[in-house]
């Protein structure tokens, strides 16, 4: 059974149809790339899966549960982690507190008031910060980080919730070549623990990291398959030749 099943998802905004009957599956420990020209509906699909947008039609099943109408918090608790396209770390909080905030989300209100898990979560916070090269800046405000570091922090926050499926919307947007390379190195080991669906414009990056690719154009799936299949797909080449 696939981890994520998207069946016939359509999303309309007034007169604009952003997604038209999209079908897609993601398996366990699979990195699935979502590519396509600007405005093809990649981010909208990710938002529909995460719960930031509600699908107008169709069904979304995650880990065997129907999540089509579930609230974002319910989806997150079920194991869906999201990194937004626009960096949305909490700038006024310290880097450490951003990660702690994400990590402690599963604790009860009573446990939070008594700070019962603060000590127990400390090592996990520091481990994540080490993993994303942010240890030295852990006591600074998140606003003080560079754009690339904020992206890493946000990925660390998404990972803190121990997601079964990580939804990454343009994880390397605005990064330098070196930062992109490091991001790829940071993400690769995650394949052992979780699946990921990655929206990205950098085709080299996505080719290196993903097992399967789905190409969207004008809200529809153009083709889906392995990286080599997509590279040789005539339909995909047409989309990129015409639109990109």
């Amino acid at each position: 059974m696939p981890l994520l099943e998207v069946r016939g998802v359509t999303k309309t905004f007034a007169r604009l149809t952003a997604l038209r009957g999209v079908d897609l599956t993601v398996g366990e420990n699979e990195f699935h790339g979502l590519i396509g020209p600007n405005g093809s509906g990649k981010s909208t699909l990710l938002k529909c899966i995460a719960g930031a947008e509600r699908a107008s039609r169709g069904a979304i099943r995650f880990a065997g549960r129907d999540m089509t109408t579930a609230a974002p918090a319910e989806r997150a608790r079920a194991g869906l982690g999201l990194k937004f396209q626009i960096t949305s770390v909490l700038p006024a909080l310290t880097v450490y507190d951003n990660v702690l905030l994400a990590l402690q989300a599963q604790s009860s209100a009573a446990s939070l008031v008594l700070s019962r898990t603060r000590g127990a979560l400390h090592d996990r916070v520091m481990h994540l910060l080490e993993q994303f090269h942010l240890t030295r800046r852990c006591t600074e405000r998140a606003a003080a980080l560079s754009h690339g570091q904020q992206q890493w922090l946000e990925i660390a926050m998404a990972l803190a919730c121990k997601p079964r499926l990580l939804l990454l919307d343009e994880p390397t947007a605005g990064m330098s070549l070196e930062e992109r390379r490091i991001t790829g190195e940071l993400l690769m080991p995650l394949k052992r623990h979780c699946s990921a669906m990655i929206v990205e414009h950098d085709l080299d990056f996505i080719r290196n990291i993903c097992d399967l690719l789905t190409v969207l154009d004008q809200g529809e799936v153009v083709d889906s398959g392995t990286v080599s299949h997509i590279q040789n797909s005539r339909k995909v080449q047409e989309v990129y030749l015409i639109r990109v």
Binding site: G51, A71, A92, D97, Q106, A109, V113, M126, E130, T139
Partner: protein, 348 residues
């Protein structure tokens, strides 16, 4: 240039707010010894209003809920204990103060559940207008309901008692109010510095974002709204017995707005800021009312407007950095191995 972690740790040691807290509470503790009785009565009122300001700071400063109705919980609890005293002759501190707290808690929970729990997070304006309407309706109701004394309210409330002991106006009641304020302040401080406080900071900074971590932000807001209602209720109970009467203004929009001004002047999200602002406004009002009886409300209004426009972080913002005001919730110091790892990050 970004500071290093050790630099940040060093700057965190230079904190202004704890010094202000200790200083202020030391002054409060010693005040009745130095003040004439009529001034002690005046400062008692200030202490009770400081409780009310704390309740607003909890909802707006720490959770981003704009409540224009804190006076509703304050006044409702005041009326509640006044009725207990008038109709049932219950004045025991062990009943009336818990009753005041419970009235504030239950009423704020009911209103909060209506305003905050919905399919979609409510807008700030919706909650502000909802609470304002509640305050206004309660004011009108009290004015028109004969049982509640109408425009005159409920006069001649007997003093609060503890067994045979009577809490009369003056130093005794002052220390009662001071003790309640100190306990509530410490509880609030504990809550806002806890992991729950971090979750509230998340709600305040980016409510939509934290839902994607699994937080039920609206439920967190309801908990704080109810807690703040309980604090306002407690203040209302103390106020009713201190003044010896309750009247519709205790419930209305004028007091609700005044509380917002206390917090804005002092600096929201700091706890101590609104307490300082209550002292500043009440003392300024006391002095200006004496010196300029006709125009003091205008002078006070202009002063407040200037502060709110030119110092949006309030009086505390003039003394404490943003970093200190927001605070941090993680461990204050890092183990050596993490700093070493940080150095490696830097080298990388």
């Amino acid at each position: 240039m970004p500071s290093t972690s050790t630099g940040s740790l060093r700057s965190r040691r230079r904190q202004v707010i704890p010094i202000l807290e200790i200083l202020l509470f030391a002054i409060f503790a010693a005040a009745p010894i130095m003040l004439a009785d009529y001034l002690t009565v005046f400062v008692t009122r200030v202490l009770i209003l400081a409780l009310l300001a704390l309740s607003f700071d909890l909802v707006w400063g720490y959770s981003g809920i704009m409540s224009f109705g804190q006076a509703l919980f304050f006044g409702a609890a005041g009326y509640g204990v006044a009725l207990l005293a008038r109709d049932l002759e219950i004045t025991s501190i062990f009943i009336v103060l818990p009753a005041a707290l419970a009235i504030g808690l239950i009423l704020s929970f009911a209103i909060g559940a209506f305003l905050l729990l919905g399919r979609h997070p409510p807008s700030t304006i919706f909650v502000a207008l909802g609470t304002l309407t509640g305050s206004y309706v309660a004011d009108r109701l009290a004015r028109d309901w004969y049982y509640l004394g109408g425009q005159n309210g409920i006069p001649s409330i007997p003093p609060m008692t503890a067994g045979g002991y009577v809490f009369g106006e003056g130093p005794v009641y002052y220390y009662l109010a001071f003790t309640v304020l100190a306990i509530v302040y410490l509880v609030c401080r504990f809550v806002v510095r806890s992991q729950f406080g971090l979750a509230l900071a998340g709600v305040r900074e980016h409510e939509a974002r934290i839902a994607f971590f699994g937080y039920e932000a609206q439920q967190l807001k309801l908990i704080v709204f109810s807690l703040a209602g309980a604090v306002a209720g407690l203040a209302g109970g103390l106020y009713a017995f201190h003044e010896g009467f309750v009247w519709p203004n205790m419930l209305g929009v004028v007091l609700s707005t005044q509380i917002v001004l206390y917090a804005l002047l002092g600096g929201v999200g700091t706890l101590i800021g609104p307490v300082i602002a209550v002292i500043a406004i009440e003392i300024a009002g006391f002095w200006l009312a004496d010196s300029f009886p006709q125009i003091w409300p205008i002078i006070l209004g202009v002063l407040l407007l200037l502060v709110v426009v030119f110092w949006p972080t309030g009086l505390i913002g003039l003394m404490a950095s943003e970093q200190e005001r927001v605070g941090s919730f993680g461990r204050p110091s890092l183990p050596r191995r993490h700093l070493d790892a940080g150095a490696n990050d830097a080298a990388a």
